[in-house]
């Protein structure tokens, strides 16, 4: 039973302090706005300007190690982190909509987040070490 103090004032909605889910709601909008620029640019640039057939090892190395290398690495890192955070949260919304068994819901969410964090780790490793960086590290370690 709602008390009169929790009822909306006529013509006005009373807002409480933002809770966890309303912060996520805002994150989905802000990350979406950012990615409307960055992801659409990435897609059209790589598919139209560069062309998927021309994305070779040397092409990636040129971008990451060339004069604008820091820019491209930060740009790719932003795609990786913002894209995966937005995507994993979208999958969590879908799981919550369809999987009502609490144990199954928890297991699926844990699987999606575990896989997502592992892929963020792999992607970060590639961006930090650069094209062929892991191979060079491996040969230097094994002599």
């Amino acid at each position: 039973m709602a008390t009169s103090s929790s009822r909306p004032v006529q013509g006005k909605i009373r807002y409480g302090a933002p809770n966890h889910e309303s912060k996520i709601w805002l994150f989905m909008r802000l990350s979406g706005l950012v990615m409307f620029v960055t992801v659409v640019f990435h897609l059209l640039y790589m598919h139209m300007a560069v062309g998927v057939e021309n994305i070779t090892f040397d092409n990636i190395d040129e971008r990451w190690s060339g004069p604008a290398g820091v820019f491209w690495r930060l740009f790719d890192a932003s795609l990786l982190f913002i894209g995966m955070a937005h995507g994993m949260n979208g999958v969590r919304f879908s799981i919550n909509d369809y999987v009502h068994n609490r144990i199954l819901n928890f297991l699926l969410t844990a699987l999606v987040y575990g896989l997502g964090l592992f892929l963020i780790f792999l992607g970060s490793l590639a961006i930090i070490l650069g094209a062929g960086g892991l191979g060079r590290l491996f040969t230097s370690l094994t002599g």
Partner: protein, 128 residues
Amino acid sequence: MAALAASIYRGISYKGAEGQWAWILHRASGLGIVLFLYMHIVSIFVAAIGPGPYEWVHKTLYTSPPAKVLEVFLLFGVLYHAFNGMRIIIIDFFPALGRYQRTIVRIELVLVVLVLVPAAIITLRGMF
């Protein structure tokens, strides 16, 4: 899973028109993009190993004729999700526009097609 089957059945029988289909496409394209991202991140990770493995993975996954057709689906999915997301943000922050939401969905689809058609032609050009 019963909830998913019931949701699909009710989704088809609900007849929610533009808004409902926009929502279904947003969810389907979002899940599709996440699946693509899993593959995309792994294939870029292989570039950190060396040129030989990377070029084999790239050729196998992205340049075969079926992959070029799937690339057009990816273009559609990303462009639709981006434009529909902008529509959601605009209506969230300007709720008065909700009165015109059916028209806004139609305008959005026109914008998606305007970008998608030339992009799809450029993508499939090499196949003919």
